[in-house]
C-alpha cells in the first residue's frame, strides 16, 4: 500500500493563488452547501469506508481539510487521495449529515475540468470504459475480460476470453449475444446519446483530460450523426 504523503507544501510548484482558486471553484458548486456541515471527528465514515481498508485513504481527512479550508492540504488530496474513493457513499451515515463522498465528487469534477495532471493519470486506466460509455452508452463490455486485463478473475479467464462469443450466445436473451457492448444498442438510442453529449458540452471535459481519446470519440460521433442527417452537429 502506498502511504499518503501529506507533508506541507508538497506541491510547492503550484502557487497558493492557484490552490485557493481551485478550492473556491469547489465551494462555488451548487451542491456544496448540502454536503458539509462540520465534523465531530467520530470516525464513523472511516469505519464504514471500504477504500480505507485497502488504501491509505480517509474520508475524515477529506472532511476535516475542507472544513478547515486548508487549501494546501486540499490540493494534495485533490492530486492523490480523492482517486482512492470508490464513490459508494457508505460515508453518508455521518451523524452530522456530511457526505465526504459527495465532497470528493465535486473535487474530482474540478480536478477534471481544470485538467490537473494527476486527474489525467488517475483516469488513464479508464480510457476504454470512457470510450464505451460515450460511444455506446454501456460501460463494461464482455471483451474486457482478458487475461492481461483481469488476471484476478482466475485461471479460467483464459477459457472465457477464448470462447467469449460462445459463452455470450449461451445466454437466453438475444440482446446479450454481444461481446463489444454489454447488450445490443438501438441506432436511435445511439444518436440520442450523441445529441445529449453535444448539447451538454460534456466532451469538453474529455478533451481536457485526454485529447487522443477525445479525437477518436468525436470522429465516430460526427460520422454517425452525419449518416443520421445531423450534418450540422460538430464538436469543434
Amino acid at each position: 500500500m502506498m502511504a499518503l504523503d501529506i507533508s506541507q507544501n508538497k506541491h510547492a510548484d503550484v502557487s497558493m493563488d492557484e490552490k485557493n482558486r481551485l478550492f473556491e471553484e469547489v465551494k462555488a458548486d451548487e451542491r456544496w452547501s448540502h454536503v458539509l456541515y462540520g465534523c465531530y471527528e467520530c470516525g464513523i465514515c472511516v469505519a464504514a469506508c471500504p477504500s480505507a481498508r485497502f488504501y491509505d485513504f480517509s474520508p475524515r481527512l477529506i472532511a476535516q481539510a475542507v472544513s478547515r479550508e486548508d487549501t494546501d492540504l486540499i490540493y494534495t488530496l485533490m492530486s492523490d487521495s480523492i482517486w482512492d474513493c470508490s464513490q459508494c457513499f457508505s460515508c453518508d451515515r455521518c451523524p452530522r449529515q456530511n457526505s465526504p463522498g459527495q465532497v470528493i465528487t465535486i473535487m474530482r469534477e474540478v480536478a477534471v475540468k481544470n485538467g490537473l495532471r494527476t486527474a489525467k493519470e488517475a483516469l488513464q486506466g479508464y480510457g476504454r470504459i470512457i470510450y464505451k460509455i460515450m460511444l455506446t452508452g454501456t460501460q463494461v463490455s464482455p471483451d474486457m475480460l482478458q487475461p492481461d486485463a483481469f488476471p484476478d478473475w482466475g485461471t479460467h479467464v483464459y477459457e472465457i476470453a477464448e470462447n467469449l462469443d460462445d459463452w455470450r450466445k449461451a445466454l437466453p436473451p438475444e440482446t446479450l449475444h454481444t461481446t463489444e457492448t454489454s447488450w445490443t444498442i438501438d441506432d436511435k438510442t445511439i444518436i440520442e446519446l450523441y445529441l445529449i453529449w453535444h448539447m451538454t458540452g460534456v466532451m469538453d471535459l474529455i478533451s481536457g483530460v485526454d485529447e487522443g481519446l477525445y479525437d477518436i470519440i468525436v470522429d465516430v460521433m460526427e460520422e454517425r450523426l452525419e449518416e443520421a442527417g445531423y450534418d450540422d452537429v460538430t464538436f469543434d
Partner: protein, 157 residues
C-alpha cells in the same frame, strides 16, 4: 533490413518514425506511404482486440487519428504521422487485430496514405541511428517495459 533492439523493442532503421506518436512510415513512392504502429506502441497497448481504421478517402492532418485500437483495458488513437488521404486500409486487421502485435512492421501495417507534402512530413520524423537514439531516450524517460519479442524479430537482417 537493418534493425536494432532497444530494451527488446525492434526498431527498423530504414523506416521513418514519429516518436511522440509512436508510428512508423515506409515510403512506397514519392508521395505514398504505408503507416503502422511501432513495436513499442503495440507493447504498450497490450494484446489488441480491435483495430478500426478510418475509411479509404478520409483526409487526415498530421496528428489526427487514422485508426482506433483497443485491448482489454486500453483504447487509443493511431495518430497520422503525415498529412494526406487514406488510399488503402489493411482489411486483415478487422478480423485479427493481433497482427499488429505479432508483426507491427509487416503484416500489421494499418493504412496507406497519399501525402500532400511528403518531404515536409519526413522533416518531422527520425530514421536510422537517430531513430534508435530517440527510442532509447523515450524508453528510458517513460520507463517503458521490455518488449516481448515479435514474430520474426531476429530475421529482419
Amino acid at each position: 533490413m537493418a534493425h536494432e533492439k532497444v530494451n527488446g523493442c525492434v526498431i527498423l532503421k530504414d523506416l521513418y518514425y514519429n516518436v511522440d506518436n509512436n508510428t512508423w512510415v515506409r515510403i512506397i513512392d514519392d508521395s505514398t506511404v504505408a503507416v503502422g504502429m511501432t513495436d513499442v506502441a503495440q507493447n504498450l497497448a497490450g494484446p489488441l482486440l480491435h483495430a478500426k481504421t478510418k475509411k479509404v478517402g478520409t483526409g487526415r492532418k498530421l496528428g489526427k487519428p487514422i485508426a482506433t485500437v483497443e485491448s482489454g483495458k486500453y483504447v487509443g488513437p493511431v495518430k497520422s504521422p503525415v498529412t494526406g488521404e487514406i488510399t488503402k486500409i489493411n482489411d486483415a486487421l478487422s478480423s485479427d487485430a493481433g497482427l499488429i502485435n505479432k508483426s507491427p512492421y509487416n503484416n500489421g501495417w494499418i493504412v496507406e496514405m497519399k501525402t500532400d507534402d511528403l518531404s515536409a512530413d519526413l522533416a518531422t520524423m527520425v530514421s536510422g541511428d537517430d531513430a534508435v537514439a530517440a527510442y532509447k531516450e523515450k524508453i528510458e524517460r517513460d520507463n517503458i517495459q521490455a518488449c516481448e519479442q515479435i514474430e520474426g524479430a531476429d530475421t529482419y537482417d
